[in-house]
Amino acid sequence: MATTTELLQGTLDLLILKAVSLGPLHGYGVLLRIQQISRDKLRIQQGSLYPALYRLETQGLITSEWGESENRRKAKYYRLTAAGRRRLTDEQAYWKRFSEAMALVLDASPGDI
């Protein structure tokens, strides 16, 4: 198994929003999607996924409805709302600025000062 990275505090919400922005997903699907895109580098605690989903739903960022899964099981599908899309854009921009800044700081060599 490839080396995996534990999630940073507060990033799970952003990952979920991104995952469901690519198309409606059920909870387990969200898990798979994130692992797949991150090439198994990000590992999500299965137990903390659902509270996060409910939190986002209560905040009105995603909505859910019952549908049928690939292997004909009843599953709850989550989809991004308009508010969720706005939040995703904001968070993405913020995250980019933040990681660029972090990279700058961490890459700094004595010559840069």
Partner: protein
């Protein structure tokens, strides 16, 4: 959430199987990866803001566990709450069915009731038929108007005739009310046209009692006052009529009135006020708007018949949703008082259970402190305790609801409620019970919860510190005083009602009530003519007087103490008179005064010589003399009925003592008597019988004697004078009995409360008492010390109770009889009882404390 969890695990298992694991192993791994689903669920709920459900669930589990641990406490609390809630629910059931429940008809809220009022005679509720017809014609305010009048016909259905309650109704009666038949059909307008149909609708209750619920009763012919009528329908079981409490068994169209009574028709007379009128408002019309419109109609009606100068001035439009308010008026004050009394009982229950909880919360102080120290919020502790009391209250409420059903049956029997009338446990009663249960739980739990959450952490966690803090013992003393005050107030109230009932039963009636019996009959209804009815009465009197069980007997038009008065105005020989309200009178046979035991002060009784052709005579009572005749001899003066009935022809030949006439509460009624032989028309008379031994035996013989004269004549309203008096004190009896029960409960609760408090505090002071005794205190001194601690509370409670009772009793005045609200003997007796019982309750545990063995407690 469960479904989502199941899907997740299934999907993960499938993937793991696909990657080569055995299904069972895959499942195990999937579950393991997921972690604790319970924690996940809790987190999920907290995120959604429903986390408190888990908390309450935990509280419920914990509360139930605590209850199991102390079943004695739980049983005591539940039982006392059940008694409190049950009694309140039972009284509310009565209030609901008498005061709140609307008539069981279609849309009762749009019904109105017409009444008239005048300055002289107050509110009246009768109207003449022509006015009713007037209202019925095109009407902008009402979509329907009905009329009815009660009657008491004798009914024959293939057996001996029996006297029943009936009602004359307009053809649209059922239609306006929106009542559907149970069987057959109900009346239509067509039935009201004179001479068309002689039809009758019987009530469901009567159908079952008399015809055994036979479906073939439709089309059967019965005889009402000998007039053959055909039964066309049965009214539904829930419907009794427009007057709650009255249960007419048969209804016939109003147009049969004259034929049934063998008299001239009242239908054309504008001066005969005999019909009750109810209407249904047009949609969108308010009662006030209708009142305007109807008032105009009434004015033009009065203008149309100017001869009616006595007709009341104003028309009143009243709320008709509850029907005619006869029963309401009779019982409303008593029910309000009972509601207050029973609420006090519940208050006592709350104080008591609260006290128990408080005592328990002291023993649980360490537990609470521990929870607080471990980081539980104070609100969380309060919630826990409230949940615990609510569990108790819910159990108490459920038990109370069962109890209330039984109480209602007992009360219905006490109040002589006919079996046709159901006192339902409807949604209002259930709602009330739920509300009371919740309030009880909150009230019982609030005080202990509050004080528990305020514990001093450091002090309480130390083992062995004294648990009785000063503030709590003050709170407990206040609770004790409050309980004593409330129970004493209740007992004083019960005492006042009991004395009122006694006074009414044993009032100086003026006549001899014992061994007196009454029977009414009306031979006219059995086909007798005006001429031969007198012969019938003479025969009956002769046979009855000869019976060995009968001391003497006499007829009278108005039965004694049956609630009705006959007012006919008065003219005097000096030309003066009194028409409103005027004296009331009776027409009686020879020997009436001897039979009833009403003593003559001067002059003579009527005799057989006072006939229609003899000199018109009269006997008056003392109040009559005082009010109308003034000084000078009364005998020899002449009087007569008022109105246009001619001169004062009756010579006064006797003066009687004052007596009760129509009601046990009568006082100073001006009254006069004439011989019934000198009435122009004689129809219904009541035989007053003085029995030689038992009145019941005499009644049996008299009935047989009447039947031997003519078995076709119905004898009705038979009973002893004692029964008659009991009927009159129905409300007072209900009030006195229930108030006594509630007061007994209250005193028991208060003493239990005091007993509990004293035994709890003494057990908490066991060590201290042991020390005192070791240092030389005598058991007597210990007893005095412990008991003395509660003397101030008992005295203060008693004083407050007397104060509350004497203020509240002024409100009771209208229900009391021959009694002042501040009745010293009642106060004294009640205070003595409460004092004795509570002292006993306090001394029992105090004595136990005084017998403590110091050597044992100090080890």
């Amino acid at each position: 959430m469960d479904a989502e969890l199941r899907f997740h695990l299934d999907a993960r298992t499938d993937d793991l199987v696909a990657s080569g694991l055995a299904p069972a192993e895959a499942r195990r791994r999937a579950i393991e990866e997921f972690g604790d689903p319970l924690r996940w669920k809790e987190q999920g709920r907290e995120v959604r803001g429903v986390g408190w459900i888990d908390g309450i669930k935990a509280d419920l589990r914990y509360g139930l566990r605590m209850m199991m641990q102390s079943p004695g406490f739980a049983a005591a609390a539940i039982l006392s709450m059940a008694i409190g809630i049950g009694a309140n629910t039972a009284i509310f059931s009565l209030v609901n069915s008498v005061l709140l429940k609307p008539l069981p008809v279609h849309d009762p809220e749009s019904l109105i009731l017409l009444a008239v009022s005048s300055d002289q005679s107050g509110l009246g509720s009768s109207f003449p038929y022509p006015f009713y017809l007037d209202l019925r014609e095109a009407n902008e305010a009402l979509s329907g108007v009905l009329a009815s009048a009660s009657m008491g016909p004798s009914l024959e259905a293939g057996g001996p005739p029996e006297q029943i309650d009936g009602e004359l109704v307009s053809g649209n009666y059922f239609e306006v009310l929106g009542v559907q038949p149970h069987l057959g059909r109900l009346f239509t307008d067509n039935d009201e046209r004179a001479g068309v149909n002689r039809v009758a609708v019987i009530s469901y209750g009567y159908w079952h009692r008399r015809f055994g619920g036979d479906p073939h009763v439709i089309g059967r012919s019965i005889r009402l006052n000998r007039l053959p009528v055909t039964i066309i329908g049965v009214s539904p079981p829930s419907f009794h009529g427009i007057e709650p409490g009255a249960l007419p068994s048969v209804r016939v169209p109003i147009t049969l009135e004259a034929e049934m009574h063998g008299s001239a028709s009242r239908l054309d007379s504008a001066g005969n006020w005999w019909l009750q009128i109810m209407g249904r408002l047009q949609p969108g019309i308010t009662r006030a708007q209708a009142a305007d419109a109807l008032d105009r109609r009434y004015d033009s009606f009065r203008a149309q018949f100017p001869g009616q100068k006595d007709s009341p001035e104003r028309l009143e439009v009243l709320d008709g949703s509850g029907g005619r308010p006869t029963i309401r008026k009779r019982f409303s004050l008593a029910l309000v008082i009972l509601t207050v009394l029973v609420a006090i009982v519940l208050g006592l229950v709350c104080l008591n259970v609260g006290n128990l909880m408080l005592a328990r919360s002291t023993t649980r102080q360490r537990e609470m402190s521990l929870r607080l120290a471990l980081g539980a919020g104070r609100l969380r502790i309060v919630r826990q305790l409230l949940v615990e009391t609510l569990i108790l209250a819910t159990a108490g409420g459920a038990l109370g609801l069962l109890l209330s059903g039984w109480c209602v049956d007992v009360m219905a029997r006490l109040a002589d409620v006919p079996s046709d009338i159901r006192i339902p446990t409807d949604f209002r009663v259930l709602g009330f019970a739920t509300l009371v249960t919740f309030l009880t739980g909150m009230l019982c739990g609030l005080a202990p919860a509050w004080s528990s959450a305020k514990v001093d952490l450091v002090g309480a966690l130390k083992i062995g510190t004294s648990q009785v803090t000063g503030r709590r013992s003050i709170a407990r003393s206040a609770l004790v005083a409050g309980q004593i005050a409330l129970s004493l107030a209740l007992l004083i109230g019960a005492g006042l009602f009991a004395r009122t009932l006694f006074n009414l039963r044993h009032a100086g009636f003026g006549f001899q009530a014992e061994q007196l019996a009454l029977l009414s009959m009306n031979p006219i209804l059995a086909g007798y003519s005006r001429e031969n009815v007198r012969g019938f009465y003479a025969d009956v009197l002769e046979r009855v007087s000869a019976l060995p069980t009968v001391e003497s007997a006499a007829f009278g038009v108005m039965p004694l103490l049956d609630g009705n008065m006959w007012g006919s105005g008065l003219v005097l020989d000096n030309g003066q008179g009194d028409d409103r309200p005027g004296p009331t009178r009776n027409a009686v046979g020879p020997g009436f005064f001897r039979t009833t035991g009403l003593p003559l002060k001067e002059g003579r009784d009527f005799t057989a010589a006072d006939t229609a052709t003899g000199e018109p005579v009269a006997i008056v009572n003392e109040t009559f003399v005082r009010r109308y005749l003034g000084e000078g001899p009364a005998l020899g003066r002449r009087i007569g009925p008022g109105g246009s009935r001619g001169p004062a022809r009756h010579t006064i030949v006797g003066v009687t003592r004052d007596s009760k006439i129509a009601n046990v509460r009568d006082a100073e009624i001006a009254f006069w008597y004439i011989p019934y032989a000198q009435l122009t028309n004689v129809s219904q008379l009541t035989l007053h019988v003085r029995a030689r031994h038992s009145p019941e035996a005499a009644l049996r013989d008299v009935k047989a004697a009447i039947a031997s004269v003519d078995s076709g004549v119905t004898v009705f309203r038979t009973g002893t004078m004692r029964q008659q008096i009991e009927d009159q004190v129905q409300v007072e009896r209900l009030l006195a009995t229930l108030a006594a029960v509630f007061a007994a409960l209250a005193v028991a609760l208060a003493s239990l409360g005091l007993y509990g408090v004293v035994s709890y505090t003494t057990s908490a002071r066991t060590r201290e008492i042991g020390v005192r005794m070791a240092l030389g205190a005598t058991p007597r001194a210990i007893l005095r010390m412990i008991f003395g601690q509660y003397v101030p509370a008992i005295v203060a409670g008693a004083a407050a109770g007397v104060a509350v009772a004497s203020v509240a009793a002024r409100r009771l005045q209208p229900l009391l009889y021959d009694l002042q609200p501040f009745d010293a003997p009642t106060l004294l007796a009640a205070a003595t009882i409460v004092g004795a019982v509570t002292t006993f309750a306090a001394i029992l545990p105090a004595r136990r404390a005084a017998r403590i063995n110091p050597a044992l407690t100090l080890q």
